[in-house]
Subunit: 217 residues, 2 copies
Amino acid sequence: MGKSMSIKPVSDNVIRRLPKYLRKLNEMLDANVRRTSSFVIADVLGLTASQVRQDLNCFGEFGHQGYGYDVSTLKEGIEDILGMNRGFNAIMVGVGNIGHSLADNFCFSDWGVKLIGIFDVDKKLIGTKVNGIEIYDVGTIVDFIAENRVDMAVLCIPKRGAKEMAALLAENGIEAIWNFTNEDLFEPYNQSIVENVHFSDSLLRLSYRLTERNDNK
Amino acid sequence: MGKSMSIKPVSDNVIRRLPKYLRKLNEMLDANVRRTSSFVIADVLGLTASQVRQDLNCFGEFGHQGYGYDVSTLKEGIEDILGMNRGFNAIMVGVGNIGHSLADNFCFSDWGVKLIGIFDVDKKLIGTKVNGIEIYDVGTIVDFIAENRVDMAVLCIPKRGAKEMAALLAENGIEAIWNFTNEDLFEPYNQSIVENVHFSDSLLRLSYRLTERNDNK
DNA sequence: TAGATTGTTAATCGATTAACAATC
DNA sequence: TAGATTGTTAATCGATTAACAATC
């Protein structure tokens, strides 16, 4: 951990695979599997052993020659790489249907993130709680950010206000936005890192593949 | 449309970009922009014009030399490619928090998919409706599939039952599964196409990038 | 030790970018 | 026509795969 001399940035493809490794390692631990290898990992994820080793070696040496990988050690290594031990705090902005569903059901703490506040415009919601987390007036959000460590914002407001809110959050020092809005947020909200979640993209990929298959038979 | 002699499969990277093109084309239409070019599209999406032209040329010729692309024609072309005009029907299995949120808020019809039924085990829910769609006993799902055209299943049940349900659906002819379960479904449920949605993967990518940035300053 | 599997370099493959003739 | 922009081929770049010496 803490290899700060990151020479060349790790490719996005590699980053996308890390959570999948983590999921499988957790499953192995649950099944009391202590030891694994690049071959086994590759097999369960549909990759090649070479690729698994290349991926991991972007971040250092996690294995032992002739032995393989200790599941627990590798899991912890990947958790560190992904920032799960940084104590990130998040706020949610907008608690309509999707926001409410996330606040209620998505286990942020499983991924090292703590949801410390929810903001909305709806007066009826303000002062109530979802899953133990208080809902505040969105008008107080700037003060809240000033007074608390807030690393991420989970954006769940309607599309039309998204750009403006992203800009406001960025101005006030929020560096990461998890965007469930249907507005594509690129990084003009400057410095901020944005992860756009588009359910429709996912559905359309499925639709494409089904169409392609139907046509080929 | 309908080029059935698909020679080499189009790469996944290309498919992932198609919904993004579509989103921008829709925005252009909303703004009464009738005509565009690979340069403009590339610019708004952070790609290169070359890449846009290469992507589109996987599927035929959509533009006019010296002119560019007619927004409306291109949009319709991409909709066709993605299968949005195939009249796909979907059922939802499991209507807990995430399922309910999707049924209520995600506009399936915007993407050419019709949600025709919801299935759950909870007796209290059976017979009620969400967003006008009836909730049926999951025990009747095989009959329902036999009696209706069902192209896709939106899987929103708890993780533990996911593999079994995927197998059941596949056995009964469902070829596409949109999987919101936390279980990774690969394609052993044979022939079925699976699109796994993992919120945590998305959050962890954000966490990674934030961590990386924090370390580099 | 012999067998196994890593870390890492080299080879291959595929995707992106550049270039440009075709043509609207 | 001159200017613009496509469709498409060629060049470059990067990611995946293969190979193997190091070593547990």
